[in-house]
Symmetry: none
Subunit: 414 residues, 2 copies
């Protein structure tokens, strides 16, 4: 049986609101062993809504809608459902009593308790819009419909406590899909792709996915299994093969974020860290401070946007600045040493560059970034990057590149 999600509302259709409801439901269902086959979004237009519902129900589907169950003039879901299931709307005194018991005598209570006859009710503990379950053997013999409210907090609670137990009782749960993610830095899709093809060929039960992010490549090994043990039996040798093949690129982070992996590295080893940032302007420091516990290793950052601060607080020599320019390996080396000394840190990172769109020269075009890593007892490591893109992209590529170099450098030297 198909599972189709339909989001209802002009605010979603016209992009004022991102449809995060679909992702939440799809992911919750995936984890429960159900695969969604399609999402759609339609606006607050009764005709378009009825058409979309009717077409989905004809596809032998469990159709799950979100939105349009509120009490205002642009909420059409209950009426549309009643129409396509060919039943009247009628006041339901039990639902009325339930809403009143939780929310008191709210103005919209009569409206919210008026529901398609024959609908089973999925209670909403957080709001006045009840969820609905409808089936009609004659009109849609192999389908059924579940309507949920669109307010994310209400919908999420009802998915966990109502929808998923409901589907588990209604639909056969056999094997479910398990997913094993692996995260790599400094790798491209094409580096990994043919290895995944080989895995899929050797073991047709496994499906591979590649998800490139900025500076990060995530690979997923997916397979259907009855439980985690069975799944691990299928994927473990391939996981180990990929880990072995790309050992220098693999990083460990539940979220798949490189900043989290670097944060965990510093946290576990209690290695103190300080930053000297020019072009990244505090954003690199922000990546560490986003994680709880950073205060146990992160000393601080000097954001030196002006040259005066580079020479003053970071002790960069005026001679180096003049002869090499602010964007140079010589300057970032002095910045890295300066901030490590000033903040008494064992490790430091310095970065200076041109994010654009202005400030580039023939010699050093927009996207030229220099960085240095200092580690107590090891030699300093410096390099130059040349990124393309707009300001936001160059900043993000710079941060990802520094995080990857830093992790590689630390693993090598400690």
């Amino acid at each position: 049986m198909n599972i189709e999600l339909i989001a209802i509302g002009d605010e979603v259709l016209y992009g004022m609101v991102v449809n995060s409801n679909a992702a939440f439901i799809a992911h919750a269902l995936l984890e429960a062993g159900f695969l969604v086959s399609r999402h759609s979004t339609v606006g607050d237009d009764p005709v378009a809504l009825r058409k979309a519902l009717h077409a989905a129900l004809l596809r032998k589907s469990c159709v799950i809608t979100t939105g349009g169950l509120g009490p205002t003039c642009d909420d059409h879901t209950r009426a549309a459902i009643a129409e396509i299931f060919n039943v009247p709307l009628k006041h339901n005194s039990e639902v009325h009593a339930y809403i009143k018991s939780i929310f008191g005598s709210v103005k919209s209570i009569d409206n919210q308790a008026t529901l398609p006859v024959g609908a089973e009710i999925l209670q909403n503990p957080l709001g006045t819009a009840s969820g609905l379950y409808l089936k009609n053997e004659r009109l849609y013999p192999e389908s059924f419909l579940i309507a949920l409210p669109g307010v994310p907090s209400e919908m999420r609670e009802m998915v966990k406590t109502g929808l998923i137990p409901y589907l588990k009782a209604k639909l056969p749960v056999g094997k479910r899909l398990f997913v094993l993610p692996l995260h790599f830095m400094k790798l491209c899709e094409v580096d990994v792709d043919h290895h995944l093809h080989e895995i899929e060929k050797e073991c047709p039960a496994i499906e591979c996915g590649i998800y490139p992010g900025l500076g990060v490549l995530s690979v997923q090994l997916k397979a259907f299994a009855h439980d985690e043990e069975e799944f691990l039996e299928i994927v473990t040798i391939y996981k180990e093969r990929l880990s072995e093949k790309f050992r220098a690129h693999l990083f460990d982070s539940p979220s798949g974020r490189l900043d989290e992996a670097v944060h965990r590295y510093f946290l576990e080893r209690k290695l103190s860290l300080a930053l000297a940032e020019s072009c990244t302007g505090g954003s690199l420091a922000g990546r560490f401070c986003a994680y709880s516990g950073a205060s146990s290793y992160f000393r601080g950052s000097i954001v030196a946007y002006s040259n005066e601060i580079k020479t003053g607080l970071l002790h960069v020599s005026e001679k180096t600045l003049e002869s090499k320019g602010a964007v140079s390996i010589e300057v970032t080396e002095e910045m890295a040493k300066g901030v490590a000394k000033e903040m008494k840190a064992q490790c430091s990172v310095a970065v200076s560059g041109i994010l654009g769109p202005t400030g580039g020269t023939a010699d050093k075009p927009v996207g030229t970034i220099c960085a240095s890593l200092y580690l107590e007892g090891a030699s300093i490591h410096s390099w130059q990057m040349n990124h393309i893109g707009n300001r936001e992209m160059i900043l993000e590529k710079t941060i990802q590149n520094i995080l990857a170099e830093l992790l590689t450098f630390l693993v090598k030297h400690r």
Copy 2:
């Protein structure tokens, strides 16, 4: 003509990634005068993809797809398009040359230059996946298809520079929807709601929208008109009424972001700014440095995550730290003065607090944040915030609150 958006990819279908592309495109089209009629999402399944494309093209539509244009085994969009338009895939040497000119001889270049015959190319300046435009008068006489890459940064750039000019040339633009946004800080929905109802009652041509964000409330006045002049004739008196009513809350930012409004304020007045950040850990500095031109006023930030740096670099007295604690108005006042002096800035901001989830006490629970604003020649302004939420939310609320206070303070004192 309908406009339908189809997102392609298992990662979207199964909820690993939220489909923010649909919202971006729908909103960009809305602003350009085109209304989207439906979004869908399908997975990396060639059969489901072809079915969805075919069905959408039969609905007299401009179909816009995102995703599946990459070079790997789970990218099926080019093949699916070729199949439903009944044309072969063929290597395109012009596209090959274009990709090579920007990205060099990347490994995937042959694959990425193999495209459906007859497709017009929408160049992608930020990636190797070209956009495609296809039409077939015989198969789908009243429809056409535009395929865009799924990587958000690439897609966004191509929507602005490629898709929208393209649609304006292809589709009739009659009366289109114009939107006038107004952005307010320190306001709630209920403060504004009844004023908007009044406007809608007085002038039925106007539809109002309220979009609350973290720390920001955006209001939209929307109306259909032939051109901007006609639109402004309709909305101007209501815009002025709202601006007058909420003058102290209004801020000026094309993006609706408070950080942009503050950036513009400093940029225009060439007022120099320095920051001393404890709990925000560089993120506040990052908000300014995200904007080109920040270097003309932004001096830098000292991210003082440890007390030693507060006393050393920021000259906070050890006595104050000990008697009042790091999270206190007395400490942020000394931080603000210290960084202004150290960085020779006319204006400075200091912040210190507990983002959690650990570190709270009975006296100063998680969410307790102190901040100070210093302005040359004015008295220092300090206040305490008490935010609730998780670490990420408390950080964002803190940043928004500081930006709002800073803008209000500057407008009042200068």
